[in-house]
Amino acid sequence: MGYFDIEHLSISFGGLKAVDDISFSVDKNEIFSIIGPNGSGKTTIFNLISGIYHPNEGTVKLEGENLVGKTPDRIARKGIARTFQNIELFANATVMDNLMLGRHIFMDTGVFSGAFMWGKRSRAAREEIAHREKVEHIIDFLELQSVRDQFVGSLAYGKRKLVEVGRALALEPKIMLLDEPSAGMNTEEKDDLTIWIKDIREDYNVTILLIEHDMNMIMGISDRIFAMSQGQKIVLGPPREVQKHPEVIRAYLGEEGAA
């Protein structure tokens, strides 16, 4: 039994086998990347892990506990946080509120204790302050200070991607699923992101599953890479091995990767 195990995971949509008997084990504190051409089933794997889809077959186990069948909010509480390929933020809330929402599972202010937040010493205010402090660390870490009180909807694409990473980080997850976090970022932003992802692993002790199309980033950052095509596994191994695999070159990397 490993730390995070996926076993025989399968799901079909209509006749299409989007994820077809996928198995892999991720070690604690690993940066584990998933690559594959468009439509190969990468995002679907994330959706199966986070409980948005339910698999036709297979299990997802975190520290031995099967997560299949649980609702997304329960899975979040088990320690799995994620970002979305197409950004799912709370657009009409500020960056601060988006990150505070990442603290939701740790807070217990209810309707009444919230309504009676009168004065600094009320229960609700004390809880708010404590969590705002935590969130402020994330804001500093991801250098979001300048946009702290802005509405997320008004931010540039790259910044929004980053806020989403910050929100996932606020959940203090064991596992973080990042779905193409660098998409839409310029080179400089990508370099920063690469460093941050490594820091998230080191400083916050998070295991990272990463879907990426940027090959430079993938090769530089990953401990192991899982390559797939049409819902099926091609190869799993360290970057250098995967890079050389003929099927990967053919199915995904093309001439660029062969060079």
Binding site: E88, F90, M107, G114
Partner: protein, 356 residues
């Protein structure tokens, strides 16, 4: 990082001296107003404040959580009937009766929230509409509720008669202060709810329910909670409404009232507490003052009544005010989609950058 940063600043009620100053001015105005207002205006203000409470609650559901309700007249009715019946039939003192009635309304809100988990858009609208109609008809057919002939509110004794402590509010003047204080408490409560965990979860569900789920928000709990909170507000408003009116029957809580409530928050500004307040005040004024009195304006009133009787209904005017309200709403939506409150935000922005 500024280590001394006071995080409480972010959630403080009065973020700046200016806000505090204007709040005090407003409070002084509200508390001295009855000294100069006529009885008619006191009655109107009481209605406005009752509607403010309801609109603030409705806006939590519609504006902040992104659910819809065309059944709020039902919760309003539950609040009114339950408060009065708890007082008259069970001899429960006013305040506990009012709060109990609000919880009863909240319970019904929770029940109505259950189908909201599966229904969306027009389907949810129809379900809530049906709920409002059902409440009206159930009340109309049961003797305990006074049936079609309605119910008279008892004396508004806010003391505890069982302990021999009586304080009966008879005039609109004294009721004004009761309603005002409750309205202020309810508004502040809503401000705080929206600033803390529950309110943020509501907004999260509105903006992206899928993201809300993956950060650990239980949609079942929070959607039904939003309905319950909203219904609680409607229940408190209804309980006060019973005493402001003095007499009410099932027709008082008809479907159009639910629509007017929705108009209040749409016109005022969805998702904004200030918007709920301005919208409730504006629409109540139109409903109860302007359109009712327009009949008496020379020429204009005669003309409108004639049109109304010729084309709309023999009683005249009643339909006309509904139609006029519809036009007001369409006008505001065209020129200021963010509602009256949007105008205010624009003015504020304008002055910030003035004279550039």
């Amino acid at each position: 990082m500024d280590m001394k940063r006071a995080y409480y600043e972010d959630i403080e009620l009065f973020k700046s001296g200016t806000i505090l100053f204007w709040t005090i001015v407003l409070m002084v105005a509200l508390f001295t107003l009855p000294l100069i207002a006529t009885n008619y205006y006191l009655y109107l203000f009481n209605l406005i404040m009752v509607h403010v409470i309801l609109a603030v609650g409705l806006n939590i559901l519609v504006g902040s959580t992104g659910q819809i309700s065309l059944g709020h007249a039902g919760f309003f009715a539950i609040g009114a009937y339950a408060t009065v019946l708890l007082m008259t039939k069970l001899s429960i003192p006013f305040f506990p009766a009012l709060i109990l009635a609000a919880f009863i309304a909240a319970f019904f809100g929770f029940i109505l929230g259950l189908p909201a988990l599966r229904l969306e858009g027009p389907y949810l609208t129809i379900a809530t509409l049906a709920f409002g109609l059902a409440i009206m008809h159930i009340i109309g057919h049961m003797e305990v509720f006074g049936g079609r002939s309605g119910l008279r509110a008892p004396d508004l004794n806010i003391g505890i008669p069982q302990l021999g402590w009586n304080l009966t509010l008879t005039t609109d003047f004294s009721k004004y202060y009761l309603v005002l204080i409750i309205a202020i408490l309810m508004v502040l409560g809503a401000v705080n709810i929206l600033k803390t965990k529950v309110g943020r979860a509501f907004v999260a569900i509105r903006d992206s329910d899928i993201a809300a789920e993956v950060i650990g928000i239980n949609l079942t709990i929070y959607k039904t909670l939003s309905f319950a909170v909203s219904a609680f507000y409607a229940g408190i408003a209804g309980g006060l409404f019973a005493f402001v009116l003095g007499f009410f029957d099932p027709i008082t809580f008809n479907m159009f009232l639910s629509i007017y409530f929705l108009v209040m928050i749409v016109v005022g500004g969805l998702g904004s507490i200030m918007g709920s307040i301005t919208g409730a005040a504006f629409i109540t004024y139109l409903m109860y003052a302007l359109f009712k009195n327009i009949k008496d304006v020379p020429y204009v009133g005669d003309f409108l009544t004639a049109i109304s009787q010729r084309w709309l209904s023999i009683t005249g005017m009643d339909n006309l005010s509904a139609i006029a309200l519809g036009f007001v709403m369409i006008g505001i939506m065209i020129f200021e989609p963010m509602g009256i409150f949007g105008v205010w935000i624009r003015i504020k922005k304008y002055w910030k950058t003035w004279p550039f």
